[in-house]
């Protein structure tokens, strides 16, 4: 048998393969690491996996939610353990191979230096990774796991246990009439909202940037400052201000502006259609300055020669715009424009702060202007339908990731980024 086979086989108990390769210190380190891992996390893993599988068996001793949380922590710890274990096996194999080929085995000192040199990127990105696991990955895994349980108001600790139900919640979204109709209503409005609001803010921003950038326009600095103002004022403040302006009974839009033109007041808050119009207009107001700023930056970086050459060739203003300005803007700004769409898809603040996703729709947990995220928020915070909310979160994530991946592939920035 070759060393490269024997060493990793022995390393099934961590460290033994290293002993076999006569790397005593390293073997000892692996052995101690494995031992202390077992001692430190043994109980957690044992309890965690039991809890993860059963979600508790006795009331009130077991709390399904705690058990689920512990189970997920156990999973994360196990993943790390397996990583170290894999490293141990690979190390045994590598050194066994060196012995087979009659190369000297790397000395402890050079390994140490190697570790320090290679460890540097791990050292500086370690804290970020830890934070990510704690603040993002763990909660997301937890939320996702809830989607496969029946956890809701009637299956809550300490009085009741929750249980795994597999894909039942997902099936219910599509089979229970009221949920299905609500889901598709909300999804349809979410898509319309995303497309219309984003297109409005992008085209308005690009258009105004081009208008202000004309050579003859004076007071450029003044106009640019004014146009950037909606971006400079914190968004939540503006939304609440607009909520007051649009108010049906005392808002200035109905009382001052429409009345000035002799028009009847419009039910901005209580009529679904008008509320949607108001939201889209507001998002246009709020969102265009960012695009305006970036477009202005792009426009200023287009060399003047291009336009001069085109003028000499007799190109009209429109031709210059179509063949020079627009392509330049689109190429430079494609990623930013895409992020506007994903941003609006998840734009909770404007929907919720304006009128809480209202007006209320009879027989539905979602209001007339609720988008997916604000509906999920209400399901969680107000009606305690945790598993339904979690299942919707998964659907939403799949939707967003699918579109984003498709877009990234199209713009090719994915290849560049990786």
């Amino acid at each position: 048998m070759q060393h490269r086979t024997i060493a990793p086989l022995l390393s099934i108990i961590p460290g033994l393969g290293q002993f076999y390769n006569k790397q005593w210190v390293k073997g000892l380190v692996f052995l101690i690491l494995a031992g202390s891992f077992g001692v430190a996390f043994g109980d957690l893993l044992n309890m965690g996996f039991w809890g993860l599988f059963t979600l508790g068996t006795q009331v009130p001793r077991d709390n399904s939610i705690f058990l689920l949380a512990e189970g997920i922590i156990a999973l994360i710890v196990t993943a790390f353990g397996l990583g170290i274990y894999y490293w141990n096996l690979k190390d045994a194999y590598k050194n066994g191979k060196l012995r087979d080929e009659n190369f000297p085995i790397t000395s402890l000192k050079s390994e140490y230096q190697n570790l320090i040199g290679q460890g540097y990127p791990y050292l500086i990105s370690g804290p970020s990774l830890f934070l990510l696991i704690f603040a993002v990955i763990f909660p997301i895994l937890f939320s996702f796991a809830l989607a496969f349980t029946n956890y809701d108001l009637y299956h809550s600790p300490p009085a009741n246990l929750a249980d795994w139900v597999g894909l039942e919640t997902f099936a219910e979204i599509f089979t229970v009439d009221i949920w299905r109709s609500t889901f598709f209503d909300v999804l349809a409005w979410t898509v319309i909202w995303t497309l219309v609001a984003s297109s409005l803010q992008v085209s308005l921003g690009v258009f105004l940037a081009i208008v202000v950038n004309q050579k003859e326009v004076r007071f450029k600095k003044f106009f640019r400052t004014i146009l950037v103002l909606p971006w400079a004022v914190p968004g939540f403040v503006t939304i609440l201000i607009f909520a007051g302006l649009f108010n049906d009974s005392f808002g200035a839009i109905n009382n001052d502006i429409l009345a000035f033109f002799g028009m009847d007041p419009i039910p901005w808050m209580t009529d679904e259609k008008w509320a949607r119009v108001a939201l889209i207009l507001m998002q246009g107001w709020l969102g265009f300055p960012y695009i305006f700023i970036v477009t202005t930056g792009v426009l200023q970086s287009i060399p003047d020669d291009l336009y001069e050459a085109a003028t000499i060739d007799g190109a009209s203003i429109f031709a210059k715009f179509k063949n020079i300005t627009l392509p330049m803007i689109l190429i430079a700004m494609a990623p930013i424009i895409i992020t506007q769409f994903t941003f609006n898809f998840n734009n909770f603040n404007i929907i919720y702060l304006f009128n809480g996703g209202g007006p209320a729709v009879a027989g539905s947990t979602a209001g007339g202007t609720d988008i997916l995220v604000s509906w999920i928020y209400k399901l969680t915070m107000q009606s305690s339908q945790y598993s339904l909310a979690a299942a919707l979160t998964i659907l939403l994530s799949i939707f967003v990731i699918g579109i984003a991946l498709w877009q990234f592939r199209r713009t090719n920035s994915f290849k560049e980024g990786a």
């Binding site: 939610i65 705690f66 990127p121 791990y122 500086i124 990105s125 970020s128 990774l129 934070l131 704690f134 603040a135 993002v136 909660p139 997301i140 937890f142 939320s143 809830l146 956890y151 105004l208 208008v211 004309q214 003859e216 326009v217 004014i226 146009l227 103002l229 400079a232 914190p234 939540f236 403040v237 503006t238 609440l240 201000i241 607009f242 108010n247 005392f250 200035a252 700023i293 202005t296 930056g297 792009v298 970086s301 430079a332 990623p335 930013i336 998840n346 909770f348 999920i376 969680t380 909310a389 979160t393 939403l396 994530s397 967003v400 991946l405 713009t411 994915f414 560049e416 980024g417 990786a418």
Partner: protein, 283 residues
């Protein structure tokens, strides 16, 4: 020919200025209206006019009168504290991580980048249910530090990508010649890479500051008592608990937060723009 060009130009400029004036009114009107409302006597908005007849400072005084349900000063400080610490934490973690991803080829790098890409697509919203459930059971309520850690964690994926893209555009020759001169990795980072990444660092700082400042979702899950509120929650409650009744007070509160933020933004605008445009082209 000459005259048609002239009239064309005139028409174009006429519409340009008309449009710009219209936009100016559209932007200024809501803002001025808020200023007016904040000086209007009484609580009702019906009688509100942009230039109040009897301007009053009552609403500003009320903000700081120390009512149990209206602790504006406290909310203000809470918001600033959370935003500033999130900003600092984000800048530190993101620049280190981006440096590692941009300059080192280590095992797991590709997978980690994929993970970051995936995480920036899954909205942090997905964590909401978990936080709501766990915060209730564990009693993790009202902790600003928990919130700050969550915000930093949420900021890392996207900003690391932006920062890494920017650092990738800094030529490697710079590092290599410094290395030949015997500079350590940390030194290269602090003295070469970081100063050159300043435009993107400004963008990361802005994201780190404005993200928490505008957040309503996570903070409304974790912060429950009025003395722990941040401005978005506090002002939202102020407006919605007794809609209309305290709108003028809200207006005063809105002015006090908007003016310093807006001025900072306008002053620092130039710093962001170069980073934003670079970020746009680099992805």
């Amino acid at each position: 020919m000459q005259t048609t060009m002239k009239t064309n130009r005139f028409v174009r400029l006429f519409f340009t200025y008309a449009l710009l004036l219209f936009m100016t009114v559209l932007i200024i009107y809501p803002l001025l209206w808020t200023v007016g409302a904040s000086f209007n006597p009484g609580n009702s908005l019906i009688s509100t006019s942009i230039i109040p007849e009897n301007p009053t400072l009552d609403h500003y005084k009320e903000l700081f009168a120390g009512k149990e349900s209206l602790q504006y000063g406290k909310w203000y400080l809470n918001s600033l504290k959370i935003s500033i610490f999130t900003m600092l934490g984000t800048m530190i973690t993101v620049s280190f991580t981006a440096y590692a991803f941009s300059r080192f080829r280590f095992k797991g790098r590709k997978n980690a980048l994929m993970l970051f890409l995936l995480l920036q697509m899954i909205p942090q919203f997905a964590a909401l249910i978990a936080l709501f459930v766990l915060a209730q059971i564990l009693g993790m309520m009202n902790s600003h530090w928990l919130l700050i850690l969550l915000y930093i964690g949420g900021q890392i994926p996207m900003n690391t990508y932006l920062m890494k893209g920017y650092m990738d555009s800094i030529p490697m020759d710079l590092d290599e010649s410094a290395k030949i001169d015997g500079a350590s990795n940390s030194r290269i980072f602090w003295q070469i890479i970081l100063p050159l990444s300043r435009p993107m660092l400004a963008v990361v700082a802005m994201n780190g500051f404005t993200g928490p400042l505008g957040d309503f979702v996570l903070s409304s899950v974790i912060l429950r008592t009025p003395d722990s509120f941040t401005l978005p929650i506090g002002l939202y409650k102020l407006v919605n608990d007794v809609m209309g009744a305290s709108y003028t007070t809200f207006a005063a509160g809105a002015i006090l937060i908007s003016i310093p933020i807006a001025i900072t933004f306008l002053l620092l605008q130039k710093q962001f723009v170069s980073g934003l445009t670079a970020g746009g082209t680099k992805g």
